[in-house]
């Protein structure tokens, strides 16, 4: 990460702390009182049984501590919640809270459907780690409309025995990946863009092929397409060596993980730095795998919580969000025997926090559009 970004982040963090300090603690108590007896509907992806289980635990806790009923609305794609919000008419929304990031956040923020000023509303927002670049969500400025819940770091999960001859330092360069694919044809693939794991795979390659990561934090210009040429050239080499000769790509990261477990592939992708150990404990992935970063560093971003502007229960939603950012809840979330998602607040016993992978900054959102449309034009006939 370049120094300017860090400075920006720090400045913003300081500003946040200053503004929240002004909030009197008794106003928070009023919020908590007002929230009692309410029901909060949290829309969140329901595909992971670990996340589902974690939210069941959270629901029990907020019921016991705040007398709030938390309902996890399980959706197959959080876009469904966005669609619901955008289709509703004025008046209360069915959605109270959402777990989202990236494009979905961008849409809701643009449509003015999210509750703002979250850092000053949520006391625990002050504790959010300053060493993570959460103020920008896939290149879209957060501006207080969402708060980070956890951290995503894009990496590959690869069969160790095969990997060793290509790399040993936990990093895989594009050339090493190519060599791997040459050695083990049909055993590598990545989710099909614009699925966000797939797009991030392309971003990682792009970072690695250019050593100038500064380039991608700025909006792309007219000549930016040229910057993508090395990527296309690389993919042209790589694709014939991929699963099904690169004629088709897995529909998503979950499916690719199943193919790794089934022995059909030697590579899977993930955003959760602890995915491998969690999946192994859950019996979803076999032994003999290891995680490896593609390119100079893991594309690092956060996944977020937001509150719908038209929620019926703004107080209760804030209390739930505050609880989700509490030490207790973040500690539990980090626990590798459950979800294992990294904490976004500084925790006392940080020695137990598994170290994050080396990070690179997110790209400006303009590049995503270029990458996705360019990819589709070239590789989807």
């Amino acid at each position: 990460m370049k120094t300017t970004t860090i400075w920006q982040c720090l400045l913003l963090a300081v500003a946040t702390i200053l503004s929240t300090a002004a909030v009197a603690s008794d106003s928070w108590e009023k919020t908590v009182t007002a929230a009692r007896g309410e029901t909060v509907y949290l829309y969140a992806w329901g595909g992971s049984s670990e996340v589902n289980q974690y939210l069941r635990w959270v629901a029990e806790e907020v019921e016991a501590q705040y007398q709030i009923r938390l309902v996890h609305v399980k959706v197959a794609d959080i876009g469904e919640a966005v669609a619901r919000l955008l289709s509703e008419n004025e008046g209360f929304s069915a959605v109270d809270m959402l777990w989202l990031n990236g494009e979905n956040f961008h849409q809701l923020k643009t449509a003015n459907e999210l509750l703002g000023e979250l850092p000053s509303r949520i006391p625990n927002a002050q504790a959010i780690r300053s060493d993570i670049p959460w103020q920008s969500d896939f290149g879209v400025p957060v501006e207080g409309f969402e708060l980070p819940w956890g951290i995503g770091q894009f990496h590959l999960i690869v069969r160790s025995s095969l990997l060793q001859e290509f790399t040993q330092n936990g990093q895989l360069s594009p050339q090493q990946l190519l060599a791997f694919a040459q050695r083990y044809p049909q055993r590598v693939s990545y989710p099909k863009p614009p699925e966000f794991h797939g797009t991030t795979f392309l971003k990682s390659l792009l970072h690695a092929l250019h050593n100038d990561s500064e380039l991608f934090t700025r909006a792309p210009s007219v000549t930016s397409r040229l910057a993508l040429e090395p990527l296309w050239a690389f993919l042209n080499q790589l694709h014939p060596l991929l699963w099904r000769e690169g004629q088709d790509f897995p529909s998503g990261a979950a499916f690719q993980q199943q193919m790794l477990a089934n022995g059909q592939l030697d590579v899977a992708v993930s955003f959760n730095p602890q995915e491998l150990s969690v999946a192994q404990r859950q019996g979803r992935l076999p032994e003999g795998l290891e995680r490896v970063v593609l390119g100079p560093g893991a594309v690092t971003n956060s996944h977020y919580l937001a509150i719908a502007k038209r929620t019926r229960v703004p107080h209760a939603a804030q209390v739930v969000m505050n609880y989700l950012l509490s030490k207790e809840a973040q500690l539990r979330k980090r626990d590798g025997s459950g979800w294992g998602d990294p904490a976004v607040i500084a925790l006392p016993d940080d020695s137990r926090q598994p170290s994050l992978l080396p990070a690179v900054a997110e790209m400006h959102i303009g590049w995503v559009e270029l990458l996705e449309s360019g990819w589709l034009e070239r590789y989807q006939q």
């Binding site: 509907y41 477990a261 059909q264």
Partner: protein
């Protein structure tokens, strides 16, 4: 019947209005957008022609093969059922597949028979015989669609056969010196096919517009058109919305063409049968007849398939840490049921109650529709019945959101148009053959129209009524989009949880929900199975 129009208004309000709700947005799209420009963008979209051909070919292949298989096995289906001592259990066993949710079927069969599946680990062969039967292969989508739609067609075939005096026809045919199978093909099949026209259209339209199965089993680079349309719908920039709209319209046109294809193949078979009446079989034809004997084994095969899939799902639920090429998992874990049972049973009960409410309402509407047809002596165009299947569901449901609330009642209402269509499909053909004079006769004894209906028509049409009820329930149980979108998470069902889980990688958990859904549907079919006593008597010959 008094006030038939008033009653029809109820149907129009409950089913028609929700469907009409799309008209403003369609009109807006057609008038306000530069249609040709959008169409050009659609055609220029990367991989458009492949998407289109994926969808169209899947529909044509599924339809044609399912028709063929249903026809060659129809005869054995009936005799096996009519003679319970000759394997009556086999006669109904294939219903196991009918009651299985589509996605659960796909999950189970691919886990079993894909190249790294359990089957190939158990069978001592060098390499799997069907390397092309795997996720994201067009052929596997075809196979799954065919295997899943065939029991549905059998189900409709049984109903149709009950209304044909085909046993007498076969007798006449034999007395005139034709073999039984010849009479079957020349006389019974054309009549049967005519009665299967609407179910075949349903199969064709379903194969064309299916999203969840196609996302699972079809290639994704590019995906079939219906999948791409669904993806565009969940991208919210205006460009994607326009493409989604244009894609939906295109699917609608394709669906019309597919229904045309249904009529075309019907006429083709009809003419072929007619020509055969007056000449002997060519060598190809007699070869075809001999091959058609496979039809005899198909229903049995499906019984075994249901059993095997059941075992596979059961194993999948309880296997912990099960990786290729292990024959058995690292350990059997029986705790999953215990952990999840509360949530699973919760969703299952809710699914069941909703389905019963939806099916009851659908059936009442169905009866009203039929009686209105009688009173007016005119038929509602059948294409209208297919409408709820034709319009992409998410499209409809998004239009309903501003008008609805997140309560159970609204979710039930949102299910009704879809269940109603299937209920009509099962009820109308039998109803139209009912001798309505029974009702007049009863009324002369001093009963009101609806009293007479209840006392005579209901018991006489018990079989189609129960069939319609069961189908409506199964359709309701399977609904994901209306339940999640309209219910806003207030009414989680087994299906919403299952579909959400299907987007993840925890196969055991998926299998657990799939298995429960399957059991629920099977219970519905078993409980609502008409008793043999009165079956087929009331449907007039």
């Amino acid at each position: 019947m008094r006030y038939p129009h008033l009653l029809l208004i109820i149907v129009v309000v409950i089913v028609g209005l929700p469907l009409l709700a799309v008209v403003p947005s369609v009109a807006n799209f057609v008038w306000n957008q530069d249609l040709s420009n959008v169409l050009i963008q659609l055609v220029d979209y990367p991989g458009f022609t492949t998407m289109l051909s994926h969808s169209a070919v899947a529909a044509v292949v599924t339809l044609t093969i399912v028709t063929g298989l249903a026809l060659v096995s129809a005869r054995y289906l009936y005799t096996e059922r009519a003679q319970p001592h000759k394997g009556g259990s086999v006669g109904m066993g294939w219903m196991g597949i009918l009651s299985m949710p589509h996605l659960a079927f796909a999950v189970a069969i691919l886990w079993l028979a894909a190249p790294t599946g359990w089957l190939w680990r158990l069978v001592p062969v060098e390499s799997p015989w069907m390397p092309w039967f795997d996720r994201q292969y067009m052929v596997s989508l075809w196979i799954i669609l065919i295997a899943k739609e065939l029991p549905f067609l059998w189900f409709m075939t049984l109903r149709a056969l009950q209304q044909l005096p085909f046993e007498r026809w076969l007798l006449v045919g034999r007395s005139q010196g034709h073999s039984e199978s010849r009479t079957w093909w020349l006389v019974v099949i054309p009549a049967l096919l005519q009665r299967l026209r609407l179910p075949l259209c349903v199969v064709a339209v379903y194969s064309l517009t299916v999203v969840d199965l196609a996302l699972f089993a079809a290639p994704q680079t590019p995906a079939p058109l219906a999948v791409q349309v669904a993806q565009w719908q969940l991208e919210f920039d205006p460009q994607s919305q326009l493409l989604a709209f244009a894609g939906s319209l295109l699917l609608l046109i394709l669906a019309g063409l597919m229904c045309g294809w249904v009529c075309l193949q019907e006429r083709f078979i009809f003419h072929w049968c007619q020509r055969l009446l007056s000449r002997s079989l060519s060598t190809t034809e007699s070869w075809l007849f001999r091959v058609s004997v496979v039809g005899h084994y198909l229903p049995k095969l499906f019984v075994y398939l249901a059993i095997v899939l059941f075992i596979a799902l059961l194993a999948l639920v309880h296997g912990h840490g099960w990786f290729y090429p292990a024959l058995v998992p690292q350990q059997w874990d029986l705790a999953l049921w215990q952990r999840e049972w509360q949530y699973v049973s919760d969703g299952a009960w809710r699914s069941l109650w909703i389905a019963m409410g939806v099916a009851s309402i659908s059936l009442v509407l169905c009866v009203i529709t039929a009686e209105w047809q009688r009173a007016r002596q005119q038929k509602i165009p059948r294409a209208l019945l297919l409408l709820p299947l034709l319009v992409p569901q998410i499209f409809l449901v998004l239009v309903w959101i501003p008008w609805s609330q997140t309560e159970l009642l609204w979710v039930v209402w949102a299910h009704v148009p879809f269940s109603y269509a299937y209920a009509l499909l099962a009820y109308l053909p039998a109803e139209e053959r009912f001798e309505q004079r029974y009702l007049q006769q009863s009324q002369t004894f001093g009963y009101s129209f609806w009293q007479a209906w209840w006392r005579t028509k209901r018991p006489l049409l018990q079989v189609p009524l129960l069939t319609a009820f069961a189908l409506a329930m199964l359709v309701s149980i399977a609904q994901y989009v209306p339940t999640v979108f309209i219910g806003g998470g207030r009414v989680p069902t087994l299906t919403t949880d299952f579909v959400a889980l299907s987007s993840g990688s925890n196969v055991s958990m998926q299998a657990l929900y799939a298995l429960t859904m399957w059991l629920l549907c099977a219970v519905v079919l078993i409980l609502i199975k008409p008793r043999r006593k009165n079956s087929s008597e009331g449907e007039m010959r």
